[in-house]
Amino acid sequence: MKLGWGIATSCLLALFGMALWLAVWGSLPLNSRPLPMRDALGPGPGFFPIWLSTIGLSLGVLLLIQTVREPADRDAASLIPERAACMRIISILVLLAGAALALDPLGFRIAAFVFSVLALLALGIRSPLAILAFALAASVGIFHVFYHWLKVPLQIGPFDHLLKPLGL
């Protein structure tokens, strides 16, 4: 068992359970109104969550104890990806976050185009032609299929008047 990771996860889960438990009782600042366990009609809105968070909290603690007592049979460091893999994963997450931020102000086509180009570069593709072709298909192509053919509402963005004359 991966001791360090297991402990960290158990702690987080136990904390998560505790936070939810406190939230039901109105002890968190942003959830100041306690949820009633019972009301005139029967079980109230706090009834199910309080039971669940109590079970969750107990299981988090139990898992933590289990993990501490279990002999470590695998090196915790092996769970951390090697440097190159780590960079790929971080790049994907950062680029996804960037695309989410850019979606509303720039529109789907530009956000998807920039995301595709940067993501392919981050994952090791170096052919400019392949990157350009894929990014165009993945941005303008997908937009065309979903927005025009399937009528799925997507963010157009402020550059529609520039892209339209280009047939994009």
């Binding site: 889960l13 669940l52 969750g56 898992l63 997450l93 994952l123 894929f134 997908i142 963010q155």
Partner: protein, 498 residues
Amino acid sequence: MDTLQLLLNGFAAALSPVNLTFALIGCILGTLIGVLPGVGPAAGTAILIPITYKLDATGGIIMLCAIYYGAMYGGTITSVLLNVPGEAASVVTCIDGYAMAKRGRGGTALGIAAIGSFIGGTIATIALVVVATPLSTLALKFGPPEFFGLMLVGLCLVTGLAGRSLVAGILMTVVGLLLAMIGIDPVRGAPRYTFGVPDLYDGIGFIPVVMGLFGVGEILATAEHPIRDVVKTNFSRLLPNREEWRRSFGAIMRGTGIGFFLGLIPGVGAIIPTFISYIVEKRVSKHPEEFGQGAIEGVAGPETANNAYANASMVPLLTLGIPSSPTIAVLMGAFIINGVTPGPFLFAEKPDLVWAVIASFFVGNVLLLILNLPLVGLWAKILDVPYQYVCVGTLLFCMLGAYSINQSVFDIWVMIGFGLIGYLLRKLDFPLAPAVLGMILGPQLEKSLRTSLEMSAGDFSIFLTRPITLALLIISMAIIIMSALQMAPKEIREGSAD
């Protein structure tokens, strides 16, 4: 109207040019999802939900179901040629399928898998037709306590069969149930766990969570370990020889039975039937030593069980409204998005739709056989596409799918967050299926529990005085106890045996 007449009407609808086209597109997309490692059927089905927004409900659901069983077919190709399962249920196929491919008989392995899948899927659909109406009629007699018990059995099965730790399994179920609590309380209308964030008042979307856990999470895992080389195989000989037919026939029949009966039980994931089928085949084989070295029964049995399960698992969904696996849970979400609520009332309220969908399973099985046998070489070519393009394309579809449900960037953030969580949980061996099923069953489970307690004025004995509920609760307890005993350390098991 009798079942046969309803089924014939269903065939008339399913064979209409429009619905046939939807089924064909669904089969192609599903097979593609199955072929691409890193895109499982749950994420794949979720990603493609936006395609069905503008379709009519019948066409949309036919396409989504075709994507589901298409993905179950397609997963075999990567198992055989890459030794990487395209979806979890194809894990077992890697053992003998890959061994056959290394001996130059990958084409035969894929051929028998396609034929077995066709037979298993078709027989399971016939059985579905037979049991669906009586089961939905029986389910109509269920009250909230019985539904609570039934959902509990489903959750206990998913939890108990989920992985190496029962505690981790239950914890993940609880996390899923708690995630379902976010938003407005469905019974009294009180906001819960919203923390003053307006986006949380509608709750956390199920689809962005699934896309995150299974789509982004899988892509992150794939990015960590890029795919290995494809085994070059000969596709000129797909059909087995006489001896291979003889050996496969029994395996296909047993696989059909195993897959179908396990598919009827809510909560049994797709992996279990394939493993059981493999174990059974090894036990009954006259040549058990060939298993692991390329025994054709080791491919025929599990692949048949996989597709029989895929079709049979629609029974609890359509008749009881209970999903058996994360992918079926996604399908259930898609049904609801398309304005169709699965459950016992579906057969009474929308018989045209439900029978058209069931008939489309038969049509889909034929389409998949056509797509898989002659075109298997083409599907295998897709494996040559560098994983970078698959990664980026999948991520874009995930983003598009998450956004297009509510046109909300918040859903993309949810997807990214759960992508990271899914990746970490995968690395830590936490099972994801219980969280997903907990999340989709959470609102119904809570509603059934609270309505039951309202019926009894808060008296918990209502669950003990109704025979069906009591039986279901005992089954739930038995599942948890058996799972706990199975997962307990060896010393404890031996101690208890003494």
